[in-house]
C-alpha cells in the first residue's frame, strides 16, 4: 500500500514537472498562431498571419541565415583547433600539459559577457567591426572546450598500438590520421562538433554584445525586439525556433541519441 502511494506520488510529480518544463514552449506555440493584432492568451482566432509576417521581416530571415553561417564557421574553426590540440595534448608528457588544458577550459567558468566585453574593447581600439569577427572568435572560445574534452576522451580510449601498427606497415602520418585515428575518434568528435554548432547557434549574451546592425544573430534579434515589448511577430519567430528545435531534437535522437549527447546515458532497452 505504502509502496503504491510512493509510486503514484513520484509519477504525479514527474507529470507536474514535465508540465512546468513544457509550459512556456506550449504557450509560445499556441500564441504564435493568433490571428489578432496583439498577444492575448488564449487567442480569439487562429491563423498563420504572424508566421507570414515573420518570414517577410528581413531582420529575422537575415538573422537566421547569419546565425547559421556563424555557427558553421565556428564549428569548423573550433573543430580544427580543438582536434589538433587534442591529438597533441593526448600524447604530450611535458610539464605544462594540465595547465594548458586548464586554460583552454576557462571559458566554461568565465562568463561569456566578460570575454565579449574584452573583445569589444580590443576591436573598438583597433577600429574593426565586432561582427562577425569578434563574435565568431568569442563563440570559438566558448565552444572549443567541448570539442577538446570530447575528443580527448575518445583519444584516451584509443589504443596507441593501432597507430604504431599503421606506421610500421608503411603508412604516412596523414594517412594514419585519416584512416586509423579519425574513424576511431569519430563518435566523440561528432558529439563535440554538434555541441559546438548548437551552442553557437543558440548563444545569446555574446550575440547581443558583439552584434552590429546588419550582422545580428537571431537570438540577439529576438532579444532586441522582445526588449521593446511583446510583439506577435516575435511570438511567431519564437514559435519557429521551437519547431526548429523540435525537429533538430528528433533528428539528433534518430542518428545520435539526445541522452547520449547530453546526459552521457547509453541507449538501453
Amino acid at each position: 500500500m505504502q509502496q503504491l502511494v510512493w509510486h503514484s506520488l513520484r509519477r504525479i510529480y514527474a507529470i507536474i514537472f514535465s508540465a512546468f518544463v513544457l509550459f512556456p514552449l506550449v504557450v509560445i506555440l499556441i500564441l504564435s498562431f493568433t490571428n489578432e493584432g496583439y498577444n492575448r492568451f488564449p487567442p480569439a482566432s487562429y491563423g498563420l498571419r504572424w508566421y507570414r509576417e515573420a518570414l517577410d521581416t528581413p531582420a529575422f530571415v537575415d538573422g537566421f541565415l547569419f546565425s547559421l553561417q556563424i555557427a558553421t564557421v565556428v564549428t569548423l574553426i573550433s573543430g580544427l583547433l580543438g582536434v589538433a590540440a587534442a591529438i597533441g595534448l593526448n600524447r604530450a608528457t611535458f610539464a605544462g600539459r594540465n595547465f594548458i588544458i586548464g586554460v583552454i577550459m576557462v571559458p566554461l567558468a568565465l562568463p561569456a559577457m566578460v570575454m565579449a566585453i574584452g573583445l569589444l574593447q580590443i576591436f573598438t581600439v583597433a577600429g574593426i567591426v565586432t561582427s562577425p569577427y569578434a563574435l565568431a572568435i568569442c563563440h570559438v572560445l566558448l565552444t572549443v572546450p567541448y570539442v577538446l574534452r570530447l575528443t580527448l576522451a575518445s583519444l584516451g580510449s584509443f589504443n596507441r598500438t593501432l597507430e604504431l601498427a599503421s606506421y610500421s606497415l608503411g603508412a604516412s602520418r596523414w594517412y594514419t590520421f585519416r584512416r586509423v585515428m579519425l574513424p576511431l575518434i569519430a563518435p566523440g568528435l561528432a558529439g563535440g562538433l554538434l555541441f559546438a554548432f548548437l551552442l553557437s547557434f543558440d548563444e545569446v549574451t555574446a550575440g547581443i554584445f558583439l552584434s552590429v546592425p546588419g550582422a545580428t544573430t537571431l537570438p540577439a534579434e529576438i532579444f532586441g525586439y522582445a526588449a521593446q515589448g511583446a510583439d506577435p511577430v516575435v511570438t511567431a519567430v519564437s514559435g519557429l525556433m521551437v519547431i526548429f528545435a523540435a525537429v533538430l531534437v528528433a533528428f539528433i535522437e534518430r542518428f545520435f541519441g539526445v541522452l547520449r549527447l547530453i546526459a552521457d546515458e547509453q541507449p538501453s532497452h
Binding site: V21, L81, I87, I117, S168, R173
Partner: protein, 295 residues
Amino acid sequence: MQAEATLAAASAAPTYSWVTRYGHLLLIAPLVVFVTAFMIVPCAIVLKNSFLLRGGMGGWVSLSNYIGVLTDPFYWQIIVRSLRISALATLAAAIVSYPAALYIYFSESRWRRVFLFLVVSPLFLSAIVRTYGWMMIFIPSGALNALLPESMEVSLMRTEFAVTVGLTHIYCPFMILAINASLAKQDKRLLIAAASLGASPIRIFCDVIFPLSVPGLVAGSIIVFAVSMTAFGTPVLLGGSANKTLAFMAYQKNLMLANPYEGGAVAVILVVLSMGVVWLMGIWSRTAFKRLGVS
C-alpha cells in the same frame, strides 16, 4: 616480442624523429595562440581599464572606479539584488529538480527515458526563446492571468519573481543532470541492504539516498548560481530596467555609455562575486562531505 620491437623501431624511425619530438607542440600551438590572443589579452585589458580613470588620465593606476562602484548605494542595491535572485533561483532549482532526479533514479518504467528526454531537450532551444515564453506567461494578457480567476489576476512582468522563475526554469536541467550523475553512480543494492537491515523508507532516504546525492546537489548549485549571476538576456527581459542586475550594469556601462573604465570595474566585480560564492560553496561542501562521509 618481435612485433613490439618492430613497433618501437617504427616509432623511433629517424625520419620521424623531429616530428615525433616536437610535432605535438605544433598541433597544440594554434589553439594556445588563439586562446592567448583572444581570451587572455582581452580579459587583461578589461582588468587594466578597470584601474584607469576616464578621459586622458591613463597611466595613473587608480582604484577610483572600484571605490566609485562600491561606495554607491545604488550599486549595492544592484549587487544585493543579483545575489538574491541567483541564490533564490539556485534554491528553487534544487527544490524542483530534486524529486525529478529521484524519479529518474528510481523509475524502472519506460516513461523514465521519456521523462529524461523531456527534461533535457529544452537545452536545444535558445535561452532567449525560453525567456520569451515566460514573458508570454507573465504579461497582463498572458497565460497566467488566463488561467487565474478574474479577481486574482496578477501583474508579475518586470519583477524579481519573474526573473527568478525564468532562471529556475532555464537552468534546472543542469541541476537535474548533476544530481542524477551523482545518484547514478550508486549501487541500488545499498538500498536493498538498508531495507533488509530494517531501515524504514524515511530512514533510508535520510541516511543513504540524501547523503549520496549531496555532491550532485552541490555541483548543480554551483553551476546554476554561476550562470544565474552572469545571465543577461533573461533578467533584462523579465526584470526590466526597474530590476537591474550587475550583468545589466556591465552592459549599460560598456555598450550604451561606452565607459570601459567603470564598465571594466563592474565586470571584474561580477566575476569576483560569482567565483567567490562558488569558491565558498566549494569549501563549505568539502567540510559537509566529510561530516556526511561521502566524497
